[in-house]
Point group: C2
Chain length 199, copies 2
């Protein structure tokens, strides 16, 4: 394998979830399809590198700052702020079509091991924003992993002082989920939060 | 999601084995790490687009034509040609460190459904190369899938007329493989090709 190809494989395999073999297949696919895949990818990456910036308000990634969500607070609900770990979670919320409020993107979870404290997640910025703004509810939508739960608890404590209402996404059986495949933690949470059936 | 980001996700998800969610994660990872990941990737892709070409002799991909393997026939064994489906298979053979001969890269398998005939796989080129050259053995190293086996049979027939010796990689239990996880086809092949133990 030539150095140039090896360098491409190495760069591609630095993507999350892409192993060495997948990176090799991706590199070959790009090299075999120069006009239809490789050149358009270069052009798009170039535009992204040039134009995409983090939003100073919510830390979303967009070609505008403030991002299109923060900028459209008239057409959305500025009284709600949903806190997510990453932009991909914001995308998932948007896909649901259910949520019309604002966001705060943490960019990860609190981690002593990786040296990520409240500042790195923009939590002081969020607190100032809550104090200064019109938000009445902060919805914690971090993951239900250990780290996500710990971060949610930290946020609940930090935001309590601002007087805002802090809520957390419901935890339970996912829609379409089969009970036999569910872990005990999910079943415990689903049982504890059980609700009376409407007749 | 902005159009530019959506375009990047779409291009990334066109890689083999990369789904929509992985492409989203990869796009975010690139945008979050512009200096260390995005810009180096653009630069390397640009160099690859500019310099990598298929080898006219064997269809390998390299920055030289003929490729570095075809060009080094003095230091390698020109009497053997190993036929592989794709460049990734050539890389796997090279990693084994065992094979020192030349290659022919088909670029796929014969497929009536996808309209890939012998010409698309460079089989006439391979036949001419065998007739005109010094090759004494052609080793068929296509996959042991239905398509790979069919392609190997076609190649064996096509090359028989040239008088060259045509061989096929041995089929059996992979090293480190546990019998209980193996499919019946592999076990049948391994049984049929069983060999007496050396004492």
């Amino acid at each position: 394998m030539h150095d140039v190809v090896a360098a491409l494989v190495r760069l591609l395999s630095r993507q999350p979830g892409v192993g060495k073999r997948s990176a090799e297949r991706a590199a070959l696919h790009l090299m075999r399809n120069k006009e239809t895949h490789l050149l358009p990818l270069i052009e798009t990456l170039r535009i992204v590198a040039e134009r995409v910036v983090p939003c100073a308000e919510c830390n979303n990634l967009d070609v505008a700052n403030p991002c299109h969500i923060c900028a459209s607070d008239r057409r959305r609900q500025p009284k709600q702020i949903c806190v997510v770990e990453d932009v991909s979670d914001l995308w998932a919320m948007e896909r649901s079509g259910m949520y019309k409020g604002m966001y705060h993107v943490l960019g990860g979870t609190l981690s002593a091991a990786e040296g990520r404290g409240p500042e790195a997640l923009g939590i002081p910025v969020l607190e100032r924003r809550v104090r200064a703004g019109v938000a009445e509810e902060v919805i914690l939508a971090t993951s239900t992993t250990l780290e996500g739960q710990a971060t949610a608890h930290y946020l609940a404590d930090a935001l309590e002082r601002t007087g805002v209402s802090v809520t957390r996404l419901a935890q339970g059986v996912p829609i379409g989920g089969e009970l036999c495949y569910l872990d005990e933690g999910t079943l415990v949470a689903a049982l504890q939060a059980r609700r009376r059936m409407a007749c």
